[in-house]
């Protein structure tokens, strides 16, 4: 049996011409490659931090 309210939740508004500029300007263009790069950068920074700490303690 179809639940009208549940089905209604599946419908989302469509992009209008008036909002096109904002949407394009603020479009999130992050992809997997960007995420991997960011993770790689964070890992390198953490790695450098650990070495320095070790040197200081030594």
């Amino acid at each position: 049996m179809l639940d009208f309210d549940e089905e209604l939740k599946k419908f989302k508004p469509s992009l209008e011409l008036e909002n096109a500029e904002d949407t394009i300007r603020h479009q999130d263009m992050t992809d997997i490659v960007d995420i991997l790069r960011e993770l790689g950068t964070e890992a390198r920074q953490e790695g450098n931090g650990t070495v320095h700490d070790g040197e200081n303690k030594g």
């Binding site: 179809l2 089905e7 209604l8 508004p13 469509s14 011409l17 997997i32 991997l36």
Partner: protein, 511 residues
């Protein structure tokens, strides 16, 4: 490029290929899902983004499609099909504007639905689909409302339309199943795809039966004798019946018929005398009939008005708004009952909101088919609703130009000049009206709008040399007006490369 980037790129291409296969068999929902993943893996996959735009365009989400193509163009400005797609959409700017209005109506209808106003949502969705016939979400939502209101036939029609565009749309399939369950008719469950497949199956099984039948006829052997015996016995029985039984039956039938004829002749005589009596009665009642004929005319008028009202309601439900408006115009309000008047007023009010859009759309269709006479007629009806819409007025001028009617062109330019006095459009229109007046050797009424060249009409005055003016009247003006909203698409040009025209006809290059 690192290994991870290379892997992501390859995976993105793989998803793109899968999406392409799905798009080829019109599985737009499936294709869209694959393309979203492809772009999440590699945002620079221009082919995937262009295809995504096409899929969105096919689903009626025109603005979202434009967004994807503009982003694609930004990523790869040269040798990119996206530029061609954007150009072809901008060329039909009035259509873009109309489809965008359809999308706005859909969004508004969705809000109405969420607030519980299904009736208003239903009307808005019909309007949305009229303006943007491809918009799948609007058709699905209206189908959902129709299912809730138990208008299963209308829902089915919408869902089948959706499935013609998006062959395996899961929502449409599910809603059709729901209709089948509620009506208890399994045929309602069938989708156009299933109908195609079952036709093939049926034809295949018929062919198999024919072949089997052919084989049976030619099979001989032990089965032969019993069949012949049966046939022989039947033949003998028939012969006996023909020779012995039938003649006896026939002679008694003849006797019966004779008796019957005598009886009927007596009856006919009696009925003839009755007919004479009735004829006398009829002649005395002629006077009564003539006196009631005027009363009948009144009743007929009432009946006609009610019939027109009913036809208008039916046409409105079937989204045939032109017929609905025509029928409503023929209703004589004085002949309606109180209840009928309430319905008439409600229907008139709802149709009048749409009259302008309906006539404008019909006018646009006729105009693009170069049927200028029909186009002019529809635009006049649209403007008769009380609107002074600039686009419509300019298209009306262009229609008169197509018909070669300079008098009407001049009058319409003058109307625009009066309505938009004090604006650039009004000034331009006044110049055009004056030029045509000079050509025709008549005078126009100048409303005193600013015609000084210093306000920038110098250029348009140059346009009054005839050729350029005409071009402005039929080409640029119409286009610029129609691309008024391309002023908005101007904003889409902020990504760098899109040239658009504004309502005043100046070309702007985005920064």
């Amino acid at each position: 490029m690192t290994n991870a980037e290379r892997e992501a790129g390859l995976l993105s291409d793989r998803y793109y290929n899968e999406a392409l296969n799905r798009a080829r068999i019109r599985d737009l929902t499936g294709a869209a899902e694959k393309l979203r993943v492809s772009l999440q893996l590699n945002k620079k996959n221009v082919q995937a983004r262009n295809l995504y735009g096409l899929v969105l365009y096919e689903r009626g989400e025109t603005v979202a499609a434009l967004r994807e193509w503009i982003l694609s163009q930004n990523i790869q400005p040269a040798m990119n099909s996206a530029s061609q797609y954007i150009r072809s959409v901008e060329k039909e700017a009035s259509k873009l504007k109309q489809m965008s209005r359809g999308i706005s109506d859909y969004n508004e209808a969705l809000r109405n639905c969420q607030d519980g106003n299904d009736d208003v949502a239903s009307l808005r969705l019909r309007r949305a689909i009229q303006k943007n016939p491809r918009l799948i979400d609007a058709q699905l939502l209206l189908a959902l409302i129709n299912i809730r209101e138990r208008r299963f036939n209308q829902a089915k029609r919408l869902l089948n339309r959706v499935l013609k565009t998006d062959r395996f749309n899961p929502q449409a399939v599910r809603y059709l199943q729901e209709i089948a369950e509620q009506t208890g008719n399994p045929a309602d469950r069938r989708t156009p795809v299933e109908d195609d497949l079952s036709d093939e199956a049926r034809n295949g099984s018929l062919a198999r039966q024919r072949t089997a039948g052919t084989r049976n006829i030619f099979r001989v052997g032990n089965d032969f004798s019993p069949a012949v015996n049966i046939i022989f016995g039947v033949a003998v029985g028939l012969l006996a019946a023909c020779l012995l039984i039938v003649p006896a039956v026939r002679s008694s039938a003849v006797k019966n018929n004779n008796d019957r004829i005598v009886e009927l002749t007596t009856t006919i005589d009696a009925q003839n005398s009755q007919i004479d009596e009735l004829n006398n009665e009829i002649s005395t009642k002629d006077e009564t009939i003539s006196s009631t004929s005027s009363a009948q005319n009144e009743v007929q008028k009432t009946s006609d008005s009610a019939e027109h009202l009913l036809k208008a309601l039916q046409a409105s439900y079937n989204e045939d708004y032109e017929t609905a408006l025509t029928e409503v115009d023929q209703v004589d309000e004085d002949c309606l009952t109180a209840d009928e008047k309430t319905i008439y007023e409600s229907l008139s009010s709802s149709l009048s909101d749409q009259a302008f859009d309906v006539y404008k759309n019909l006018g646009d269709t006729a105009y693009y088919q170069k049927d200028y006479k029909s186009a002019a007629s529809y635009y006049e009806k649209a403007l008769a609703t009380g609107s002074n819409d600039y686009d419509t007025l300019v298209l009306l001028v262009s229609s008169y130009e197509g018909l070669g009617d300079k008098q009407k062109q001049m009058e319409t330019w003058q109307k625009i000049a009066d309505a938009y006095a004090g604006t650039d459009n009004g000034t331009y229109a006044q110049t055009m009206a004056d030029n045509l007046a000079d050509e025709l050797g008549v005078s126009t009424t100048d409303t005193g709008s600013d015609t000084s060249d210093s306000t920038g009409t110098g250029d348009t005055t140059t346009g009054g040399t005839g050729t350029t003016g005409d071009t402005n009247a039929s080409g640029t003006a119409g286009d610029t007006n129609a691309t008024g909203t391309t002023g908005n698409a101007n904003t889409s040009g902020t990504t760098g490369n899109t040239n658009t025209t504004t309502a005043n006809g100046t070309n702007t290059t985005a920064q």
